[in-house]
């Protein structure tokens, strides 16, 4: 198999990430694909190449405000519209996990959410939930940085058809349903905080 030093392979990884991502990816997000340090200039060059490769095809790679994304060319949307009526869109897993934590653990800070999820929470995820009117800041915690405390709103309950938070499905015995994810690299340090390095960095920056 090719190594990452192989430019062609690197380009395929980028293309695959862009094709499978439900949201636009910035160059800095794309850098995270690789454990090696891949320069932004190189990624930009490869993006331009991918864009070129897709000329004259049904989808195109476009640069949006939040990053790069593949989308169908306008020319083909009349065809696509003939397919089975589209299903309602779904939120990404990151959004759903964040919403679940705010609902069950409120009031929580972003740091709390990150500690429970074990990964960083991007600003766009919080933004999505705030804009939808499902989550709001109801105060600030008296610690350095004065992080906001998030809670769910009445609109959240209304939109989900719930009378009160007590109507949320109980989580009581969920522990028996899942297995811990295999984490091969972390032998011997099982007691460590569940945050990976990257998430740590994000939290640090925010405080």
């Amino acid at each position: 198999m090719s190594t990452i030093t192989d430019l062609k392979y690197l380009k395929i990884v980028l293309e695959t990430a862009l094709l499978t991502s439900a949201e636009a990816l910035s160059v800095s997000a794309l850098k995270k694909l690789f454990t090696e340090d891949v320069k932004a200039a190189l990624i930009n060059d490869l993006l331009a190449e991918i864009q070129q490769d897709w000329r004259g095809r049904g989808i195109e790679l476009v640069k949006l405000a939040s990053g790069w994304r593949f989308r169908a060319r306008a020319e083909f949307t009349p065809y696509l519209a003939r397919l089975t009526p589209e299903k309602p869109p779904r939120y990404s897993r990151a959004v759903m996990e964040t919403l679940a934590i705010v609902a069950y653990r409120q009031p929580v800070t972003r740091g709390d959410i990150e500690a429970i999820r074990g990964v960083s929470v991007s600003t766009s995820v919080m933004q999505t939930l705030l804009e939808r009117g499902w989550v709001e800041v109801i105060g600030h915690k008296d610690v350095p940085g004065r992080p906001g405390l998030y809670a769910t709103t009445h609109k959240f309950l209304d939109d989900l058809g719930l009378v009160s938070l007590r109507d949320l499905p109980p989580l009581a015995d969920l522990g028996t349903l899942v297995l811990p994810e295999v984490q091969p690299e972390s032998v011997g340090e099982t007691d460590a905080v569940p945050l990976d390095d990257e998430a740590d960095n994000v939290i640090e920056q925010e405080r």
Binding site: L19, T20, R69, F70, R71, A72, A74, T77, L80, E86, P88, P89, R90, Y91, R93, M96, E97, L99, A100, I101, A103, Y104, R105, Q106, P107, I116, R117, G118, V119, R132, I138, G139, H140, K141, D142, V143, R146, L149, A151, G161, L162, S164, L165, R166, D167, L168, P169, P170, L171, A172, L174, G175, L177, V178, L179, P180, E181, V182, Q183, T190
Partner: protein, 271 residues
């Protein structure tokens, strides 16, 4: 493959601990009865039921499932059950039922053989048990195989190329069970799953914490009693009181009283 699957796998490699008790690896389920209580709990939890436990005992000793020596197997099984009961672990009724079945089979084997049936086959009292053990083992292995197969999202990703919506934008729909599913994924990733267990009682406390914070917002000092609506009944008062304590513990509100018997005031820790 997961540790939990390995626990009872017939091909359990020697040297792989099945459990850790007081930091010491337990390499195999002890045959004698000196099983530390903590280990018992782990052992019990690692079996999916009496069939799983029986299969383990049979496989571990390399016995022929088709010709189970009932006396020793029954004795071993009973030893586990007795030890577990002595430690007063909540034992599923199925384990006791199996114990009764094993004893029944054993006693029937001691009786003179019944006459052969029409086909001339001797009626082995173990036959039904053997059939169940094998059928269970077959499904247990099938579950392992299924788990090994690549699964969408876990092992491979679908494409998600955007189609620009011409019509009005549709907002994603979410229902309450989606939140439960999301929590499952969080649990799976958290190393200590028990830590994030959320009980229903706890949830009403969390909900009440949010209510109090909202109530205090924009008010400076609120009289302690003002937070309690006596018409809502005792359970609500208790939950509300716990919510205040939790808020104090988390440093989100401050409670003050100038002197004994003076009014108690509550305010946001951060205004």
């Amino acid at each position: 493959m997961s540790n939990e699957f390995l626990l009872t796998s017939p091909e359990l490699p020697s040297g792989v601990p099945i459990a850790h008790v007081f930091g010491q690896p337990v390499l195999e389920v002890p045959q004698d009865l000196f099983i530390p209580p903590d280990a018992l709990q782990v052992i019990l939890e690692s079996f999916e039921g009496p069939l799983d436990l029986l299969l383990y005992l049979i496989r571990k000793q390399n016995l022929n499932v088709l010709d189970i020596p009932m006396a020793p197997i029954t004795a071993q099984y009973m030893a586990y059950i007795d030890a577990m009961r002595r430690e007063q672990f909540e034992l599923a009724a199925e384990y006791l039922l199996m114990a009764a079945l094993l004893i029944e089979i054993k006693s029937r084997l001691l009786l003179p053989r019944p006459p052969k049936d029409e086909e001339g086959e001797p009626d082995d009292p173990r036959a039904e048990l053997v059939r169940r053990l094998l059928e269970y083992e077959q499904m247990k292995l099938a579950a392992l195989e299924l788990d090994k197969m690549p699964q969408a999202d876990r092992d491979f990703a679908w494409l998600a190329v955007l189609i620009e919506q011409v019509a009005e934008e549709r907002l994603p729909e979410v229902c309450a069970v989606d939140l439960r599913q999301a929590w499952l994924a969080i649990l799976s990733r958290a190393r200590n799953t028990r830590h994030h267990k959320v009980e229903k009682d706890e949830l009403s406390v969390r909900a009440q914490m949010t209510w109090i914070l909202r109530y205090l917002e924009g008010r400076e000092y609120v009289a302690f009693e003002e937070l309690f609506d006596l018409t809502l009944g005792v359970p609500h008062l208790v939950v509300n009181f716990i919510a205040v304590l939790e808020l104090v513990k988390e440093g989100l509100v401050k409670v003050s009283q100038d002197a004994a018997y003076q009014p108690i005031y509550v305010r946001l820790a951060l205004v």
